[in-house]
């Protein structure tokens, strides 16, 4: 049997499930909205405006858009210089380039002095089939070590819009993992409202507690539905602010007796949400049955995204199967 032929559209496929509602370029549109009465907001791109939805801001405010070219170190240090002068720069590129190539510039030029730079980066975790050069599978591990940095991993279009407003209102450096293009829309059904630093229970349940961020919250909600067929009652605690963690909510939820805690993340199992939650429990002397779903500590394959999500265990089907195996 010959392998199924890959199409480009599959390589850069939307993470939306079949038939799911989506909203186009939520970050770009939200930033245009925020910037209307905030003349201090400027946008910077490292030749990826089109793929970070910043082109929408560039069209609306050409005089406040800065094309820095393929130069991520310059991107971040220039943003630092602008922030020093009272501007609020939104700097965008891919997560791999911001984290791997420009780390020292974030750490020293931005974070030490708590400069008001917003770093918004596309292709977090495994959200492209282009292989390790584009898959930021360890961005959280890298960035969690930066003091003063707030980290947001939003789940859907609604949350990205609200988080964009919240970032602009917050003083200090923020890193947001960006979903771009046609982004799934689901949290409106839960009456959800993003609050910086807050984890929220989207669904109650007595057998399993999913702790998740980013697109894995969408998968956890789907898995929770699927588990109903097996009479498994699963709760979902969405934790979009990865740093600082909402420690009080997490501890209270983990401490509830009788539930298997499953931390699900679109990130390598090293240094992301899973380890952060485990370390929180450890520091507080809390023991619970805990399991982790995340990407393996490997250079991942290139290919069609749905296939890769299945292969590495973060598709809804694989997430559901793993949980059933642990019960």
């Amino acid at each position: 049997m010959s392998p199924q032929r890959l199409k480009t559209s599959a390589m850069i496929a939307s993470i939306a499930s079949e038939g799911q509602r989506t909203r186009a370029a939520p970050f770009g549109h939200a930033l245009v909205e925020v910037a209307a009465d905030r003349p201090d907001i400027v946008g910077l791109s490292a030749d990826l405006a089109k793929y970070t939805d910043l082109h929408i801001f560039a069209q609306a405010y050409p005089e406040r858009f800065y094309q820095m070219g393929m130069a991520e170190q310059l991107l971040l240090a220039t943003a630092a210089g602008m922030a020093r002068e009272g501007l609020t720069p939104f700097a965008t590129t891919y997560a791999v380039f911001a984290s791997r190539r420009a780390y020292d510039f974030l750490y020293m030029a931005i974070a030490e002095d708590k400069l008001n730079v917003k770093l918004v980066c596309a292709l977090p975790g495994l959200t492209t089939g282009y292989g390790p050069s584009h898959q930021a599978t360890e961005d959280l591990a890298i960035f969690r070590g930066v003091p003063n940095l707030t980290i947001i991993d939003p789940c859907d279009a609604l949350e990205i819009e609200q988080a964009t407003h919240a970032m602009a209102a917050h003083r200090g450096p923020v890193y947001m993992r960006l979903l771009r293009g046609k982004v799934p829309l689901l949290l409106d059904e839960y009456g959800y409202r993003f609050e910086l630093g807050k984890a929220k229970v989207l669904r109650e349940g007595s057998d399993v507690l999913f702790v998740s961020s980013g697109l894995m919250t969408m998968r956890a909600l789907e898995a929770a539905n699927a588990l109903k067929a097996d009479k498994v009652d699963a709760a979902v605690l969405h934790t979009p602010t990865v740093k600082p963690l909402d420690e009080a909510t997490l501890l209270a939820q983990i401490a509830k007796p009788g539930r298997l805690v499953v931390v699900a993340e679109n990130h390598t199992v090293i240094g992301g949400l899973g380890e952060a939650v485990l370390a929180l429990a450890m520091r507080n002397g809390l023991t619970a049955r805990m399991r982790q779903v995340g990407l393996p500590d490997r250079f991942l394959d290139a290919g069609a995204l749905p296939t890769l999500h299945d292969r590495y265990g973060i598709s809804t089907t694989r997430l559901t199967e793993q949980v059933k195996g642990w019960l």
Binding site: V42, E63, R64, Y66, M68, G69, A71, Q73, L74, L76, A77, T78, A79, A80, G81, M82, A83, R84, E85, G86, L87, P89, D104, F105, M108, A109, E112, D113
Partner: protein, 283 residues
Amino acid sequence: MALNNMQLPLDLAGLKEMARVNRLDTARMFMAAGNGHFGSCYSCTEIITTLYFGLMRVDAARPEWPDRDRFVMGKGHAAPTVYSALIRRGFMPEGWMDEYETAVGVKLMTHPSRRYQPGIDTSQGSLGHGLSIGVGMALAAKLQKRDYNTYVLMGDGETNEGSVWEAAASAAKFELGNLTAIIDCNRLSVDGATDEVMPMEPFPDKWRAFGWDVIRLDGHDLPALLDAMTPRRDGQPRPPRMIIADTVKGRGVSFMENVRGWHADTITATQYALVKRELEVTL
């Protein structure tokens, strides 16, 4: 003693004297610590002195004055030169010099930090950041229609960093006439002669090719520095300005001049006495 604004700018004789004071202050700080980056500081003494006492619009009473000229110390390890200038301009008390690096919690350390030091415009220490940060400050001035100038001092070794050239291209693209960069060409870095560690010359050709206005001068020549670094406040879009300053590492102290080991070294009381005697006599 700090100068007040009425006494500024200094004339040539005043600048020459202030350069001598700056070298003595630097040695005083290093004596307090027992060591320091003598060579790196003494090559840029005249550059810093000319900026802070001859050209830059700053006011100790308003360290964060939005219209002040900005100074970015790319080669952060030579910060004591800047500390002396800020102390003599009244931004910081003189007594801080004698606490330099003597204990955790004192205000003055090897690298400049905005967390502790009034008058410092950017925290530095990681080489290769300064010029890009300066680009951001100069862009902000244009957007906010302010006429301050931004000065960035880099070491010649620092230009090995690729980020310097990212910034070089962008400053020309954005026509940052309000940005002046200075390369302190003292020709020595940690591991040896800069042209052996990584040859970067000819600097003028490289910077011109990147679209900058370039002047090469003797980095200890006060009149030349005054002329070359005069602020440009007309807001006209034009090429950024690059000053290639040929300097002598350890300038002013005979046993330190052009000696690689004095990039950073310990100092004894006997050596300190020698430094003081030479600076009293020779400059």
